[in-house]
Amino acid sequence: MGPNRNISILLTVPALLVVALLFIYPLGFSLVGAFQDKAGVWTLGNFGRAWELYRLDTAFTVVIVLVSCVLIALMSIAIGGYLTLGESPLAKSILGFLYRWPLFIPFIVAAQCMRTFIARNGMMNMTLVYFGILDLDQVQGFLDWRGIVFTFVWKQTPFVALMVAGAMAGLDRATIEAARNLGASRLRILVEIVVPQVSRTLAVGLVLSFVTMMSVLSVPLMLSGQSPSMLTVNMAWRINSVGDYGTANALGFVSYLMTGFAAWFYLRHGMREKAGQ
């Protein structure tokens, strides 16, 4: 046991070194940087500036990401639910084939497509006008925070839906069939029987999406030039245009707090699962 144990510890060393060098070190470096001014003196000034200039954007970052999470949850339950409970094999196979596509499209490409798709005179509105559903005077553009939410939901729903649909497929069909025999509607079965059983998987998917969305720069940068925007845009701005790493680090610290909360939730869930086993 002894030598084997030593060898297994030795085998983890390269991975640990990579994590330490490429993640822990920069993380620590930027955390320290958040509390220092340009001369290296300890200060809370960076947080003062972050609060003064970016408190609105901080609040909106939370709102944008949370609204996206709620919509992603609803969409993935709908997709997973239809794949599990749907009755038309053709519709199920088409949906099963289509819904994964956005997974393979990078955020930056999605953002570029959305720029022309959801603009005021973009493809979406012009198609609706062409079919007489909207009047040209009624159309409005979504190149603002709504466009960011739209893109996030489009891009992240397949990821969560994939997890949720997998979990739903693994459920004991007996409970579903029992409910069906007792006359429950498909919606009721989904809400009262299926979703509660996959809620943990759904939560994990949403936590991972939350963290991913918090870190995306391309989508808010390309879709919305105005305030409110997201913290990633502000961080890039502080570094690229002002050369101010201190405030950027302070904003990064705020982001860490938010994602740290999500990570805590994720870990707590993992521990519970292990304890359950």
């Binding site: 003064e52 200039l53 609105l56 005179n121 553009g141 190149l143 390309m222 002002v242």
Partner: protein
Amino acid sequence: MKRRTMLGAVAVGAMFAFAPGAHAQQVNLNVMTAGDQNMVDYITEYLGPMFEKANPGVKVRAVGTGPGDAGSQRIWERLEAQRKAGSASVDVDVAVVHQKMAGMMVKEGLLAKYRGEVSTGKMATNDVTKNALGINVDGYVIPMFNSQIAIAYNPDKVKTPPSSYDDLVAFAHANPKRFGHNGIRGGMSGVGFVFGWLYAYAPQPAKLIDGPYDDATVAALTPALQKMKAFNNDVTITPGNAGTLDALNRGEIDMGPVWMDMFYSWQADGKLSPNLKLTLLKTGLPGQPMYYVVPEKAANAAVARKFVELATSPQVQAKGIVERFNWLPGIDASYVQQYLDKKIWDKLFKDVPPDMLKAMGKPMPQSDYFTKIQEQYEKIVLN
């Protein structure tokens, strides 16, 4: 066996090919450029081959460091790191940088005072040859090109083009959301538009350009920025420089600030309606050059000067800078005119003639104001 013998022969051949002395005369000229990929392409595809042909034994290697001031900052970081390491020479022979970093590099003694040693140096007469955002750079830089922000408009919708910021305010009020700009976080055409706003409405606009810096002047900008906040309620905020041009082309807005060179390039590529026109405003809109600089400790300084001499020669400025990129020449336009077709010259100055450009094209603000104005905009207009 046969395969192994062949591999061996290739390996020996390769050793000889890369052995020192095989190309004893070879000079690698490292050109580092900030800006978009087109800057790297310009050097790799156009300027580099031309220089290599005229100077056998020289290989031009172009490296791009990314767009905006951040790209220039990376060049500064590289030079600074090599100075801190105590290197006798640096591995950047020619750099192309923006104004802010050029000023800083001159102040820190990182650049060579080379303009006097280059024959084309005296052809660069523009103010920006001597002054980069309030810092004296006389002798250290030669502009590669000048770029100007102008107001693009759709003449079908805007019958009388605006001549002042007051006209723009009136237009936006009468036609809500039909004027668009990209604010300060989405590219320099929006930033320049904000600076132009302050040249029109600040109590001491000249001080913003010439300095000296003081906090009171920044504080005095508050009413002008509050006016901008109200103005923004009537306009569309577009996502970036390209976003404004896209919105104009799709007919979502009728007017907006754009870079002149981008405007003409998009028109030439068929990405923008040929009907759209440009104009300047009487209190001025800013423009900015990018500079050729030679680091103080460039390993190949003499070759570097020759390279800049070619790059700033009237022929190259005409064919490369004006024809290829629709930029305004870095050296005085009068030297360049004779090498250009009348058609191209007329196109470049069709909407904004040289006298208008001279009267209404302004420099960017002095570097401290440059940064502070952006921060005040965030504080007052965005919050």
